[in-house]
């Protein structure tokens, strides 16, 4: 069976993350495993004391955790944070990236899990003595403790990134359990005064970093989905083989056989699409973002269909949170809503400007009527 689900990103990182997830799935998260295990150093360049790894390395970690259903904000802490920090001036960036790699600070993005890091929830006003930030950020991942927040914001029509002490940001307005079992929080910044130095990047560098963080978040969430799908199907197959009704194994009912076959076909399609996204990312393909949006929409469709199938085929067990397949189903549906839901990405895909390149391709003469 295991040969039907070869890993996407095999290697030591995957093994370590898998092992950690397997050992900790049943216990409450203690402390800050993401930093203790050194995963925050993955994307940090070597000259800043990091591992100098790439998104493929992080993808191994994401895959390992997702395969066993453990929820940790790896994408937020290990991808979004260092990618945003890299927008700062060389000296500032190095100092903070070093601290991130060492684990001596705990930096989290103050962004809604449902929005991409290139969306502004906060606006800033430049004052004589610094900045004043206002805005509501709802559904921020709060699974791990934070000493600092990175806040993407809009300043006078410019993209910007702020780095602010958690104490200054204050306590969240509300705390939640998210659909997939993480901790979430709502923050409200009401004319929060911060010093000039809190703005670590502005203009093009901030814009590019936020775009990169967005691509990485979309890509890694897609990896999470494919890994979760593999586990979901594996668990469902095991259930169908083991559970007996009417004196036979459920796996002998053709309707269920076809249903699980459909899940597998969807899984392979999703996996192919994610590999394609990775290639485009590595090659910095010009329409990477379009492909990522397509993947977001397509994976959402497949993942939800598979999640619903798995719940159905587990019968009553399918609605019990004790069952791993059920938790995977929850995770898959929740992942749809991370970094923009499908309605948002469809709107962007169908927006006139998104179609522009296609028009010029089909119009070989280049004339515009």
């Amino acid at each position: 069976m295991s040969t039907s689900f070869p890993s996407l990103f095999p290697g030591m990182l995957l093994d370590a993350a898998s092992r950690y997830a397997e050992d900790h799935i049943a216990v409450q998260i203690q402390g800050d495993p993401v930093r203790e295990l050194g995963w925050t150093a993955t994307l940090v360049p070597e000259e800043a004391g990091g591992v100098g790894g790439n998104l493929g390395d992080l993808a191994s970690i994401v895959e390992g955790l997702a395969a066993h259903g453990l929820q940790l904000p790896v994408v937020e802490t290990c991808a979004v944070v260092p990618l945003l920090l890299q927008a700062a001036g060389a000296e500032t960036a190095r100092r903070w990236l070093e601290a991130v790699a060492e684990g001596s600070v705990q930096i989290a993005p103050l962004t809604a899990l449902s929005a991409t890091p290139d969306v502004d929830a906060v606006t800033a006003r430049h004052l004589d003595i610094g900045y004043e930030l206002s805005g509501a950020v709802q559904g921020v991942d709060a699974t791990l403790p934070a000493t600092h927040y990175l806040v993407p914001a809009q300043v006078d029509g410019d993209d910007a990134i702020f780095l602010i002490d958690a104490e200054r940001v204050g306590a969240p307005r509300a705390r939640y359990r998210t659909m997939e079992g993480r901790l979430g929080a709502d923050f409200a910044l009401a004319q929060l005064a911060v010093p000039e130095s809190a703005c670590i990047a502005r203009g093009a560098s901030a814009h590019d970093a936020r775009a990169k963080a967005t691509d990485a978040a979309l890509l890694l969430t897609a990896v999470d989905t494919v890994a979760a799908l593999a586990t979901l199907i594996r668990q469902t197959v095991t259930h169908l083989k083991e559970r007996r009704q009417f004196g036979v194994a459920l796996s002998s009912f053709q309707v269920l056989r076809h249903r699980v076959a459909d899940m597998y076909v969807k899984y392979l399609g999703a996996k192919g699409l994610v590999i394609h996204c990775f290639h485009e990312h590595e090659q910095a393909a010009p329409d990477l973002r379009r492909t990522l949006r397509l993947a977001k929409v397509s994976l959402a469709e497949s993942a939800r269909a598979c999640a619903e199938s798995a719940i159905q085929m587990h019968g009553g067990m399918g609605v019990s949170e004790e069952v791993l397949a059920t938790r995977m189903a929850q995770r898959l549906i929740a992942s749809e809503f991370r970094y923009g839901d499908r309605l948002l990405h469809v709107a962007r895909l169908l927006a006139p400007q998104a179609c522009a390149p296609q028009v010029s391709l089909s119009n070989q003469t280049g004339s515009v009527r």
Binding site: A112, L113, S114, A115, Q138, G139, D141, P172, R173, A174, R175, Y176, R177, T178, M179, E180, R182, L183, G184, D186, R244, Q245, F246, G247, F253, V255, L256, R304, E308, I311, Q312, G315, G316, G318, V319, S320, E321, E322, T326, A329, Q330, I333, A334, E336, F337, G340, D341, R342, L343, L344, V346, A347, L350
Partner: protein, 386 residues
Amino acid sequence: MSIDYAGFRRELESFVRSACPPEIRAVVAAGQKITKREYQAWQQILNARGWGAPSWPREAGGTGWDIRQRLIFEEVMAENDCPPLYHHGLGHIGPVIIRFGTPEQKARFLPRILDGSDWWCQGYSEPGSGSDLASLSTTARLDGDEWVVNGQKIWTSHAHEASMIYMLVRTSKETKKQEGISLLLVPMDTPGITVRPIKTIDGWHHLNEVFFDEVRVRADNLVGEVGKGWTCAKFLLERERLPPANVARLELMRRQVTQLVEGASRATAGLRDFSGLHHKLLMCEADVKGARVMMAQATDDLIHQRPLGVQPSVIKMTCADVAQRLTTIALDAVGPDAAHRFLAEVGDDVPDATWIQNYMFTRARTIAGGTSEVQRNVVANELLGA
């Protein structure tokens, strides 16, 4: 004397509008989980008016209404955001006791269902017996004038708040598996019963495991003949699958979801593409209209005592399917804001998150009370032979 149905509808409307407390209607209107509190309060109000059991015959304490009146009742209730009647007592075991129970059982159990003092749950499923209910293994042996029950039930909705359980037990192992099953009524406070909650994906507590360890039950709590419980169980399941409330509630849900989509669509104007959702809503609207006619036809067959055939299965599948599609549309509409604010730990609940819980809860509509696969088998067997 012919019934003035329009006048009947007006009478109901004016009653429910003045008698159903606003706080209860608010829970229903918001699509929140209806708990024992709301069910019970509303049951008592209806019962005081003489409408505690719309579907029961008059001699059993019911209204004696014809089927059309019952349908109108359900529609008026749904249109006015009143809770549905609590099904396990009124819809399931009540009719079984009326049909198969002794005069003494009727006198003992029916009034307490009517006035809401007994709250029933259903002990059918077991860990090893789900779709194949007939393979159940919880036993009851006669010891003097008591049955002694041992075994385990699972997925028992509301067992933690119920005062009574109606359960299928094996009273003989010697016969075919459908035979040797009996229907037993057991007070939940009998020593030897343990209820353990099951955590479910919607974040609400409704399911339980129920354990029976040498539980002693009065012999005269067995309904019908010993070993003939399967007949009662089937009678009950048919009623479980054909509640008129399902279709009326679907229309209520459709209106709620339409409002939700319109609100979300306005709030995120231009940023998110709602065209697909509007399309899906239209298809649900069409299907609800179709389901209403199916229900009316099944009703007509019931009135004229024609066999129902596969209608309960078809209506159950259709209602479950439309309910799932509607809550899925709701999930899409509110998901991005609500998925990360599913259950409040500190601060207020996010009202939209209730729709995510509803989406999760509604997954069970194609599982509980006979899965859709099993219903399809029923329909296919009718069309193609077993």
